[in-house]
């Protein structure tokens, strides 16, 4: 494993294309212990060396299977859990050096389960208004007015503010969660699987709402999901994660048209399409399971399932993320060329 030095911050001066968030070599290893006082036996490498830049006003999608570290990466960006190694900078400043209250105001999060992220004993007015009260921005009649405004932004009615979370459907609860995230007028919102718990017809409503709010307010989103259809719809750029690492990152169109990493190829070919006339392309079925992140394989973490892995290279050397076509980066020794295909792997 190679440890790259964090990129220099010289781009900070040029404010125009300064990234909003810069993630450099972020690592989060969770220790495994068998008992409270026993020594650490191993580490689960949930996030293992991620470099990424997120620019103002864009939506970056993060896809990957359950357990690949998407949510942990999101929590690191939010500063919710301490990092093992690396830095995350917000507007060029390390998030650990920023005043926590200030950071919370500017970075907000929407969770997967809208019901679980709200106190059932609080009215909608208190739920959405709490951040405003904590930050001393509004109270009394002003708070009521502000909450009413936020509710109408997310397509709910002001008279909903005296209701409680259980009186709403899943889609409406997610709208309330979004109103809460918007209440402090943040620069950035982390959307952690915001539509996974929703019905398809309601998912479309929420996706449209996110899109229009982003355009109106110039927000920056990280959109974490395992649904490739959703990520294709909503994102400007997409990062594919596998075992705690970004294996490929690119503009959405480019990634879906010319996937370079064998894992991305397999993912794209495995999406079941809900139509009857789509010609059944032969799909690449990967054999085997994802290795345990507590004991990742040597070399490329994907080589155990890769149909084009080369013995003596892929199981020894770890590939680094490098550019194949401008902003299109891939971590693979043998990236698939544009328009190329993978040999169909049969078990």
């Amino acid at each position: 494993m190679t440890i790259q030095s964090p990129e220099p911050n010289d781009s900070r001066a040029a404010s125009g294309d300064e990234p909003l968030i810069t993630i450099s070599n972020a690592r989060k290893w969770f220790p495994i212990k068998t008992g409270m006082f026993s020594p650490v036996e191993a580490h689960v490498r949930a996030v293992d060396g991620v470099d990424m830049k997120i620019h103002r006003g864009e939506t970056v999608g993060i896809v990957g299977e359950s357990g690949c570290g998407k949510t942990t990466l999101g929590r690191l960006v939010m500063g919710l859990i301490p990092m093992t190694e690396g830095t995350i900078a917000f507007e060029g400043e390390d998030i650990r050096d920023i005043n926590q209250k200030e950071l919370r105001r500017r970075l907000q999060i929407v969770f997967q389960d809208p019901g679980g992220s709200m106190n059932p004993r609080m009215s909608v007015r208190s739920i959405i208004g709490e951040p405003l009260i904590i930050n001393g921005l509004a109270d009394g009649a002003k708070l009521t007015k502000k909450v009413a405004e936020l509710l109408s932004v997310v397509g709910l009615k002001p008279n909903h503010m005296n209701r409680f979370p259980h009186e709403f459907s899943g889609g409406q609860k997610q709208r309330i969660a979004l109103a809460r995230a918007l209440s402090l007028d943040p620069d950035f919102i982390l959307l952690d699987e915001p539509t996974s718990a929703l019905d398809v017809s309601v998912q479309a409503q929420v996706l449209n709402l996110l899109d229009s709010i982003q355009k109106e307010r110039g927000l920056t989103f990280i959109f974490i999901t395992h649904s490739l259809n959703v990520v294709n719809h909503i994102s400007d750029r997409v990062g594919v994660m596998y075992l705690g690492k970004i294996v490929e990152i690119s503009e959405t169109d480019e990634l879906f048209a010319n996937p370079a990493h064998p894992y991305t190829h397999a993912l794209l070919s495995a999406i079941p399409q809900p139509s009857v006339d789509a010609e059944k392309t032969e799909r690449i079925v990967l054999s085997g399971d994802v290795p345990s992140p507590a004991n990742p394989p040597n070399g490329c973490s994907f080589h155990t399932r890769c149909p084009i892995a080369v013995k003596g290279k892929c199981d020894v050397d770890e590939p680094e993320l490098q550019s194949v076509n401008g902003g299109h980066k891939v971590a693979c020794h043998f990236p698939v060329e544009a328009g190329g295909s993978l040999p169909i792997h049969t078990e």
Binding site: G64, E65, S66, G67, G155, L156, K157, S169, G171, Q172, D199, V200, S201, V202, Q203, A204, Q205, L207, N208, D211, S212, H226, L228, N229, V230, N232, H233, I234, T252, D253, F256, A257, A266, L267, A270, I271, P272, Q273, P274, S275, V276, D277, A278, R283, V285, L286, S287, G288, D289, V290, S292, E347
Partner: protein, 247 residues
């Protein structure tokens, strides 16, 4: 309970279950064979493991092994792949199809993922608010849906864009699924339907046979013959701005 316990409790004749903790080698071999059938790598080791030691895909395969051990006539799979990523989902669906073809087991697949349905099913029934609103073969329901809910639902799924295609708003069905306590006089879908009229508000629609073996529960199936026109009706401005938007 270890995997051998979980699988064996279903796999061996009930009379011997009381003694399953002292399983004889013949039973172990039988369980290993069943696990091999669902392509679990290294089944001899897996039989001694506990569920938390397995990955999500492996656990789902053990579940299928448990079910298939009884050689059922019907397997009811309730969202079998919802928690899995697409590469593992493809493996599990392939496995279920294999078992179906080999053993002749009928599978009832309960899911909200229409992609999974297109992949695995022969016939489809669409449910809305407690009743089946459309039923027919896969080609009929997904290819030429006639009930407005099915049309709106299929239309609202995000699709993979063509290269260079500009992002536009997704087509939606306005409103929410009604609360299960709501009492309806007419069609349950009428508050969200662009074709709803007084008949829909007062009388529940019958199941109408729109083509051979294809039934749709709608008063106005004549309006949905043209699929594109029906899809457009959902996105018509005056419909979206009407009373349904948010209750």
């Amino acid at each position: 309970m270890t995997i051998i316990g979980s699988v064996a409790i279903l796999a061996i004749p009930p009379i011997q279950i009381s003694g399953f903790l002292r399983l004889d080698p013949a039973h172990t071999r039988q369980v290993v064979r069943i696990l091999k059938d669902v392509r679990i790598p290294n089944p001899e080791a897996v039989v001694k493991m506990y569920p938390h030691e397995l990955s999500g895909g492996m656990r789902q395969r053990v579940m299928i092994a448990m079910m298939m051990a009884c050689e059922p006539k019907l397997l009811i799979a309730d969202e079998p792949t919802t928690a899995l990523d697409v590469t593992i989902q493809a493996q599990i669906l392939g496995l279920m199809k294999d078992l179906r073809d080999r053993e002749g087991t009928a599978i009832m697949m309960i899911t909200h993922d229409l992609g999974v349905i297109a992949e695995t099913c022969d016939a489809v029934s669409v449910m809305y608010a407690g009743s089946v609103v459309e039923t027919g073969s896969l080609e009929q329901v997904l290819g030429s849906p006639r009930m407005p809910y099915t049309i709106g639902l299929l239309h609202s799924i995000p699709r993979i864009k063509e290269e260079g295609e500009v992002r536009t708003d997704l087509p939606i069905i306005p409103g929410q699924v009604p609360d299960p306590n709501t009492v309806f006089d007419g069609c349950r879908f009428h508050p969200r339907c662009p074709f709803a009229d007084d008949l829909c508000r007062s009388t529940p629609p019958p199941m109408e046979e729109v083509s051979e073996g294809h039934f749709a529960s709608c008063h106005h199936t004549e309006l949905t013959v043209d699929l594109e026109a029906a899809q457009l009706a959902f996105s018509a401005k005056q419909f979206l701005q009407s009373e349904v938007s948010v209750q």
